[in-house]
Each structure stands twice: as structure tokens, then as C-alpha cells.
């Protein structure tokens, strides 16, 4: 059951503001509650314990997935109540990048141009310009980045970036806030008796 929360602090001046966002499915907590705020031009990395959690957290920030509880604001828009306006400000690069063929890539450019109301020629030129910077443009992550940056975005979300495209992504969106998700498996916590006590016995 989703819980509807309200954001009581101001979102003015923030590209992204997340308060207490978490994601549960079938009683299992896939993303633990987290807070995050990003101003334009800022970069942050969000570390999660598994690839699924990292992808979910990235999608929550990109207004693609609604959190089970908590609030997500992209710019001034509530991602739950105004998802279309929120998504308009976001460039989302999925983990693994874009793996479709050249025809599918061309179709995606047209689709994104039409959805954001951009001239198709301009969209193709922008995507080609980004791909040129990565050589032959065969890197799936570079292709996904080129698709994400067809519109002018205020927030760029990079889900588990890889390779040169992940490292240089922020350079293609000057002024945009950049959120990156990464995976770092949690180290299990082990409770052991203090050494001194053990020595006494």
C-alpha cells in the first residue's frame, strides 16, 4: 500500500529533492529509506547494496518508479502527482545502456524528439554530437547517454555507469544536476566479544 506523504520544506533552488523515499515489494524492502537533495550543477553518488536496489533508486529519482513511501520532487514538480512534468526535466540513462540496433536507435531518437517537442533534425544532430565524442558510438552506455540528453535536462540520472561515457557524462549536461547510482555490497555486521574481556577469561 502506498503512503502519501507531503513535502513540508521548500523545493526552490533544487533540481532534485527526495525525502524518506523507499521501495517495498511483497513485504521485502528493496530500497531502504533515503534522503537526497541536489542543486543545479551538483553531482552526487547514491550507493546501494545490489544492482536491483541501485536501478530502483535511480528510477525513483528519475520519476519512473513511484516510491512506496516518501516524497520525490524534480524541480518544482512532485513526481507522484505531476509525473509528466517531472520526467520532462530528467535525462535517464539505464544500467547497461541502449543495446538495440541502429534502426531501433534511430527510432528512439525520433520518439524522444516527438515526446519532448523537439525538431527531429536537431535531436539527431545532438545525439550524433554526443556519440562522436566516444569514437564509433558503439558503446551502449554512450548511446543511452545520447538518447537521454536529446532534450535539455535539469537532472541527469546515471544508473550504474560504465566506461568513458559514465565518467564524462556530466560534461555533456552543463548546469544539470547529476545523480549516479553505484553498487557496493554491504559488509555483514558481526558482533564479537571485546578482546579485553576475552583475554581475562
Amino acid at each position: 500500500m502506498n503512503r502519501f506523504d507531503t513535502l513540508t520544506t521548500s523545493t526552490r533552488g533544487f533540481a532534485l529533492k527526495i525525502l524518506g523515499a523507499c521501495f517495498e515489494r511483497a513485504g521485502e524492502e528493496l530500497v531502504a529509506p533515503f534522503d537526497l537533495s541536489l542543486r543545479p550543477g551538483e553531482r552526487r553518488t547514491l550507493v546501494q547494496p545490489s544492482p536491483l536496489s541501485a536501478s530502483l533508486a535511480a528510477r525513483i529519482a528519475a520519476a519512473i518508479v513511484k516510491p512506496t513511501a516518501g516524497v520525490v520532487h524534480v524541480g518544482d514538480f512532485d513526481a507522484r502527482l505531476q509525473p509528466a512534468q517531472a520526467k520532462r526535466l530528467v535525462g535517464f540513462v539505464p544500467a547497461g545502456g541502449f543495446t538495440g540496433g541502429p534502426h531501433a536507435f534511430s527510432c528512439q531518437i525520433g520518439l524522444r524528439a516527438d515526446a519532448w517537442g523537439i525538431a527531429r533534425g536537431d535531436a539527431r544532430r545532438r545525439a550524433a554530437g554526443i556519440l562522436e565524442a566516444f569514437g564509433d558510438g558503439a558503446d551502449p552506455y554512450a548511446r543511452a547517454l545520447a538518447l537521454a540528453l536529446i532534450p535539455q535536462v535539469a537532472l541527469l540520472v546515471l544508473d550504474q555507469p560504465r566506461g568513458p561515457a559514465g565518467e564524462r557524462a556530466a560534461g555533456f549536461a552543463p548546469g544539470a544536476a547529476v545523480l549516479t547510482t553505484e553498487v557496493a555490497p554491504a559488509v555483514p555486521f558481526r558482533l564479537e566479544p571485546p578482546l579485553a574481556a576475552a583475554a581475562r577469561s
Binding site: 536491483l52 530502483l56 509525473p83 520526467k87 528512439q108 525520433g110 520518439l111 515526446a115 519532448w116 517537442g117
Partner: protein, 192 residues
């Protein structure tokens, strides 16, 4: 304006070359069935069964693609755009059957052809919701799709002064509810 552009772009994106090949194949098979089917009331019943049964096939393909969920559209807008391709796909069997029967000299009446097309479209509109569900729930929507299509086709049996209007009215009502429901489900759906 950009919503209309996005709707057309999504519909065209889903109607790929593979979609066209499948459509033509289905249309050809239905034409053959229409040509071989004996004339009379049995022809309409067979055509309706074929059209409604085939409508959910492939209707759910590609709906869960993550790239659609990242577009700046509301659930209901995405639902309208996503529903166009399955509806076009569902028309293959009624059109093929009608053409085959006409070529064999056993043409169906215009009223029956319209009812067939509407039944197939309604079945497809209900079936798309199966894409966002798993297992028995998805199958339940396929069963509902067959039931909805059969209801529209069966409405041709309505008698009285306005009996001819029954299939379009039933199709509008059931189709509208199905599309609304699909939009609501898409709006709530989380692509995990």
C-alpha cells in the same frame, strides 16, 4: 501538440516491420478461412470466434519497454498511444476474413463486418492490460478479452428498431472502460 506527436511516434514505433509481417500473415490466414467457410450464419460465428480469439495475440508485446515509461506522458496518454498498435493488429482477422469470403462469393453483410471489427478491437483493448500482470491475473484478462469480444459480436443478435446500433454501443462502452482501466494500470505500474 507534442502529446499528439508522441502518440503517433509510439504507435509507429510499435508497428515495426515484424508487426507488418505478422499482420499480413494473419490477414492471409483469415482470408483463407473466409474463403473456405460455408456461407450462412455459421460464417459470422466462425469469423467472430477467429477475430476475438486472435485479438490478444501479440497485443502485449513491448508494452513494458522501459523507454516508454521515461517519456514525459501521463498514464492515460501512454495508454492511448500504446493501444493503437494492438487495435490495428486485431483488425487483420476481420478484414482478411471479410475479403476472403467476398472473393469466394459469400460476402458478409456490412453490419456483420463492422461488428466483427469492433469485437476484435474491444478484445484487443481488454487484452493489453494483461501485459502489466503476471500469471493467472494475466490470463484472466485474456479470458475477459474473449468475453468482451464475444459480447460485442453477440450484440448483433439484438432485435428491435435500434437493434443495429447494439454492437457499436456495447463496443464503445466496453472499449472505453477497458482503455480507462489500462491507463489507470499504466499510471500505477512501476517498471521494476
Amino acid at each position: 501538440m507534442s502529446e499528439a506527436r508522441a502518440t503517433v511516434a509510439i504507435a509507429l514505433r510499435r508497428m515495426s516491420r515484424r508487426f507488418a509481417a505478422t499482420w499480413l500473415l494473419r490477414c492471409g490466414a483469415a482470408a483463407l478461412a473466409g474463403a473456405l467457410c460455408p456461407a450462412g450464419p455459421l460464417a459470422f460465428a466462425a469469423a467472430a470466434a477467429l477475430a476475438v480469439a486472435a485479438a490478444p495475440l501479440g497485443a502485449t508485446r513491448g508494452i513494458r519497454d522501459l523507454s516508454y515509461f521515461a517519456l514525459p506522458l501521463y498514464g492515460r496518454q501512454l495508454a492511448r498511444a500504446q493501444a493503437i498498435a494492438p487495435c490495428v493488429g486485431a483488425l487483420a482477422v476481420p478484414l482478411g476474413f471479410g475479403a476472403g469470403a467476398a472473393l469466394a462469393g459469400k460476402a458478409l453483410s456490412a453490419e456483420h463486418l463492422v461488428a466483427l471489427a469492433l469485437a476484435a478491437v474491444v478484445a484487443a483493448l481488454i487484452a493489453v492490460s494483461a501485459a502489466l500482470r503476471e500469471g493467472p491475473r494475466a490470463w484472466l484478462y485474456v479470458l475477459l478479452a474473449w468475453g468482451g469480444g464475444a459480447l460485442v459480436a453477440g450484440a448483433t443478435q439484438a432485435s428491435g428498431r435500434f437493434g443495429g446500433l447494439a454492437p457499436p454501443l456495447v463496443a464503445f462502452l466496453v472499449g472505453f472502460i477497458a482503455l480507462r482501466q489500462f491507463g489507470e494500470t499504466l499510471a500505477r505500474y512501476d517498471p521494476v
